[in-house]
Structures are given as structure tokens and as C-alpha cells.
């Protein structure tokens, strides 16, 4: 195919949107509605995932060391912990540090504990973070088996449930997104198919005049592509402004301090790109595939 023919297909595809204005409005409408839904849901899921990641990252193991251990033994324990596979960081926290954080953590009442500064009853401790938060439980049990370890804390009561919950939430989220995208594909390509069905006679005429299938089909691809892009404009605008105001409201409220949303940039650009891509792809695919049916004349 010659380059100017390709140009012709692009020109023709764009003109067809104007020529079939009502059909175009219908298709763009279908794309817009479904992409608003898909976009909102994807934004929601990505943020929930982000929060889950943040919570998981906060999970750490505190290994308390036996009071009887001497300085060398404490050091050895530290080295042994570092050697456990999957361990990311190991930080030593002396019993004085521990007391200090305890005093601070209890506020006013904590002052009572300050009396112990002369004779600190607390243990030295190591604070460990896993490379992969999901490995926390496993690493903790390995640390427990080491010598001179008094006790291991990592929020045993809640952490496993938290991970389990996050895992389910992610799976369900992905399933919902896939389902929603498939619905979008179905809805959009069906709308486009209807608009093309109305033009099956025209396709037949083009064949009579000696047009090859590719020649007939390419402008439809271009048309679908443009319809998809046009249809993603409003969803992008809605999500960009919607997210802006959500961020503004949520970050101002102290009661939502645990809700850490993804920053506006680059998140909004990423989600815009996703919406644009879905729109363009579905538009092009839906229209290209629908024409094929009418080419077998």
C-alpha cells in the first residue's frame, strides 16, 4: 500500500465520524460511560492496593534478647539474624533505646517509667524488616529458634489475618477489573457493530467498485480508533478533577490520617493513559472486527 493511500484512509476515517454523526455520538457515548466506570474502579483499586502495601511495609519483627546474654552474644545474634534469607534490614535497639521509646509512647504516664533509668529491666532488641512483608511470619519463627532470643513479637494476632485479607482483596479487585473491562469491550464493540451494520450496504457497494477488503477496513479501524479516543476524553476529565478534589478533602482531614492516597502526579497521568489505551484499543478492535463480518459478501 502506498503512503498516500494510508493518508487517504486516515482522512476517510475521520470524515466518516462526521458523516455518520449520530452513530458516532452513540458510540462515543457508550465508550464514555463504560470508561468512566472502569476508570473510577481502577483508581479505587490502585489506591486500596497502595494502602495495603503501606500497611504491610509497616510490619516489623522485634526480637527481644535474653537478659543473660553478654555483649558478644548479642552481637552474634545480630549477625545470625542478618544471615536469615529474606531479611531486609536489622536495627539494634539497646535497652536504653527501648525504655526511651516506651516512655515516649506512654506520654504523661510514661514519666513513671523514667524511674527505671537507673536500673533498666528491659531487654536489648533487634528490629527486623523482611524484604517481602509476606515472609514476616516465616522469618520470625526462624529467629525464635536462635540462641539467646527471649521473645519475638510481630503482631502475631493480626498480621496473618491482615495479609490474608489483603490477598483476597487484591484477587477480588483484579477479577472485578477484568470483568468490567470485558463488559466494556462487549458493550462498546456491540454499539459499534450496530453502527456498522447500518452501513453493510455501503460496504457491499465498495466491493462492487473493486475495493479490496483492506481498503474498506482500514478507514473503519481509524474511525474506531478516533471514536475510542474521543470517548476517553470525558472519563479522563472526570477522573482527573474527581481525584483532585478527593485528594484535597481526604488529606485535610485528620480522621483520615491512615488513608494515604497516591499523589496526584504521576497517578492521574498513569490512569489517563490506561483509559486512553483501553478506549483506543477497544474502539479500533471493535470496529475492525465488526467490519470483517460484512466483508464476506
Amino acid at each position: 500500500m502506498k503512503f498516500r493511500t494510508l493518508q487517504r484512509h486516515f482522512r476517510e476515517g475521520a470524515k466518516n465520524i462526521v458523516r455518520n454523526s449520530w452513530m458516532s455520538v452513540a458510540s462515543v457515548g457508550a465508550v464514555t460511560v463504560t470508561l468512566v466506570l472502569v476508570g473510577t474502579f481502577v483508581a479505587l483499586m490502585l489506591n486500596i492496593n497502595q494502602m495495603a502495601v503501606k500497611v504491610e511495609e509497616d510490619v516489623e519483627i522485634k526480637a527481644l534478647i535474653e537478659l543473660t546474654a553478654d555483649e558478644d552474644e548479642v552481637k552474634i545474634v545480630g549477625e545470625e539474624i542478618e544471615r536469615i534469607p529474606g531479611v531486609n534490614t536489622v536495627r539494634f535497639s539497646s535497652k536504653d533505646d527501648e525504655l526511651e521509646s516506651l516512655v515516649e509512647g506512654m506520654g504523661e504516664q510514661g514519666q513513671a517509667w523514667a524511674l527505671f533509668e537507673q536500673d533498666n529491666p528491659l531487654n536489648h532488641a533487634y528490629v527486623i524488616k523482611a524484604k517481602n512483608p509476606q515472609d514476616t511470619e516465616q522469618i520470625a519463627s526462624k529467629i525464635e529458634q536462635l540462641d539467646n532470643i527471649y521473645k519475638v513479637n510481630y503482631g502475631q494476632e493480626v498480621v496473618p489475618q491482615l495479609f490474608k485479607f489483603n490477598k483476597y482483596a487484591r484477587t477480588i479487585g483484579v477479577a472485578l477489573i477484568v470483568g468490567l473491562v470485558l463488559t466494556a469491550v462487549f458493550l462498546i464493540s456491540n454499539t459499534i457493530k450496530l453502527t456498522i451494520m447500518a452501513r453493510s450496504r455501503e460496504i457491499g457497494i465498495m466491493k462492487l467498485v473493486g475495493a479490496t477488503n483492506t481498503f474498506i477496513r482500514l478507514p473503519f479501524f481509524v474511525e474506531g480508533l478516533l471514536l475510542g479516543i474521543l470517548g476517553s476524553v470525558i472519563p479522563i476529565a472526570i477522573i482527573a478533577t474527581g481525584y483532585y478534589y478527593t485528594l484535597k478533602n481526604v488529606s485535610g482531614q485528620t480522621s483520615f490520617h491512615f488513608v494515604q492516597l497516591l499523589p496526584y502526579s504521576p497517578f492521574v497521568w498513569q490512569i489517563s493513559a490506561i483509559i486512553l489505551f483501553i478506549g483506543a484499543f477497544i474502539g479500533m478492535w471493535g470496529s475492525g472486527m465488526s467490519v470483517r463480518k460484512f466483508l464476506k459478501v
Binding site: M1, K2, K207, G210, F215
Partner: protein, 228 residues
Amino acid sequence: MITMKNVHKTYSNGVTAVNGINVEIDRGEFVYIVGPSGAGKSTFIRLIYREEKPTKGEIMIKGIKTAEMKNRDVPLLRRDIGVVFQDFKLLPKLTVYENVAFALEVIEEVPDKIRERVMEVLDLVGLKNKARSIPDELSGGEQQRVAIARAIANRPNIVIADEPTGNLDPDTSWTIMRILEEINARGTTVIMATHSQEIVNTIKKRVIAIENGIIVRDEDRGDYGYEI
């Protein structure tokens, strides 16, 4: 130019439309196809531009057997056969100019040549001043002239017209006939199916009469031969 040997066509619903046709049409001929409705005229014509394939027999267009032709080569054949129909078959949303230009865009002609040729054929059919109209704004006769302009735009060797005057009043029909004669005079083979006794008996050409799927009469400068 066109050779048919013992051609049969039975449709999938069991109707046999063409039942053993042998015919030879030479370059530059003007041929009327006449016969009652349902006799097989349209099928005969559809076989030529390979809208249909014969179920038996052999059709050669310019030495190529159409039945053996691959589907993707059909457009190439169609570019050498201009078609004109009773219902015009124009693209409704394109202007007159764009409709004619389409036939030239298909063969990837250069834009300058397209412009030149479109105006040339529109001039030939007398519609140069309607280039920007869309088909709905034209009368039936004008639409048919656009269809003819499109059919001859890329200088095909054969023009096929399936009852081109079927929907037109007598005056307009004569205009269409003059244009077809003009095209024929320039060396293009014209094959025209018609029900118009007046036209056939006035503009004398070769007449092929088809009845029940076979050729019952084939004479040069023949008459229509049926009473209406």
C-alpha cells in the same frame, strides 16, 4: 473478452437460474440481455462480475477463469468491469465527486490524476456542476449518470448495466442510453440487461434472449421480441 461454456448456476436454495449457457462476447460489442423476469438475466450478469460462481461450466473474462480466481483477486477483476444498477448503488453519504473518486482511490491513482479524471467523466455525463451534491439531492436520472461516471472512471474494458433505465422516465432513459452508446463508441464492451422494448427496438444492437436459464435467441441488430 467474455466466454461462457456450458455454464450452470444452481443457488443453495435449489433454484436453478442458469442452465447451460454458451456465449461469446467480443471486445467493443454492445449487447442487450432480454427475457422475462426470473429468466436468469441477473444471474447471468452476476456471473460476469463474479458476484456468483458457476456451479458447472467455465467462464473466462479476458482469458481468466473466474471460478478458479482467488477471492482476494476478485477486486482486480471488478476494477476492469464497471457496474451500473437499477438502484444506482451510490454511497449515500459521499458527494458526487467522492463517489466517482472512490473508484480511482481504490486503484491508488495519484491525487492530481483523480481530480482530473473525475471532472472528465462528470463532464461526459453532464454533471460537472453537481460535483458537490450528495446523491439524495439528485434526481434518479442524475444519480444514474453518477453511477455511470463511477463505472467508467478507471477505464474498464467492460461495462455491465443491470436494467439501468428501470427506474427512470423515458426522457431520462434516452439520456442514459446516449451516454452508454458514447462509452461503447470509445471501445468499451457494454452489456445491458433491460426490459425496455422501445430502447432495444430503436437502438439496434446484438440481442441475447434468456428464458428458463438458457439462451433462446442471439441475433445481431435484433428486436426485443416480447409483447408487453
